[in-house]
Amino acid sequence: MLGYLRGFDDIFDQVERMNREMEGLFGNRPAWSGIRSVAPGTFPAINVGSSAEQVDLFAFAPGLDPATIEVELQQNLLTIAGERKVELPEEKELYRNERFSGRFRRVLSLPEDVDPDQVNASYKDGVLHITVKRSEVARPRRIEVH
């Protein structure tokens, strides 16, 4: 009788696993004390992850026109800039105005072995995803033992 419910459990488990993976990954990071770090709540919020092949940056920047986002990479210094225009009707009663409005700019230093010529940026569901490949020499190579 409980059999048909198990299908739902599996989906629930999958979502849970994904949550745990992401929360495990980003949840326990100590706060960054870099000289370019910003106050909590600064727009856009940014997560950076790194793997052997590439560095992935996620900027939580909802409601932007992707064509207006400026992404610049100089050596390993990445700059994200743009403007979010939140137009609120003037004559209406405004109760809350928490969403960021105006120009923004964030600068982050990525690991030094990134290849500035291999950058890819996409925008989906309000998240800007930038992928920078690590330069070939820096990647771990498997050495065959003969």
Binding site: G27, G49, S50, E53, D56, P62, G63, L94, Y95, R96
Partner: protein, 131 residues
């Protein structure tokens, strides 16, 4: 026999789910009102429309969203502003609002929610007759 085992697995699962971190992100919102109703805009970056859940229970409007994005498998975190993967926020509505007629639209991580006033609460213009 089977039933017993099922129950046991369920118990284990409950224990597990209690242990998980229940931290939620609180989405930033703009809320304004005009003659026809209330409009709310909420920032939910990373939430696609199929992972968004809007619920009205009596007078409570609850928004919940699940963040999902493509992540390489062997990724290690270097830096994180966002430390949770779920958004949640709820509001209490008032009686003159028509909860049956709420309209919601999701675009580029921004939710626009429209809660109209019931017809009898919408302003009517009363004509003043000249003598």
């Amino acid at each position: 026999m089977n039933e017993t085992r099922d129950l046991k697995t369920q118990e284990n699962r409950e224990v597990e789910s209690q242990g998980r971190s229940d931290t939620y992100l609180r989405p930033a919102v703009d809320i304004f009102e005009d003659a026809n109703g209330i409009t709310m805009m909420a920032d939910l970056p990373g939430v696609s429309s199929d992972r968004l859940n809007i619920e009205v229970d009596r007078n409570t409007l609850a928004i919940e969203g699940q963040v999902s994005f493509d992540m390489p498998k062997d990724m290690e975190a270097l830096y994180a502003d966002v430390r949770a993967t779920r958004y949640q926020r709820s509001f209490t509505l008032s009686n003159e609002l028509d909860t049956e007629a709420i309209k919601a639209e999701m675009k580029d991580g921004v939710l626009t929610l429209n809660v109209p006033k019931r017809a009898e609460h919408q302003p009517r213009r009363i004509e003043v007759q000249g003598a």
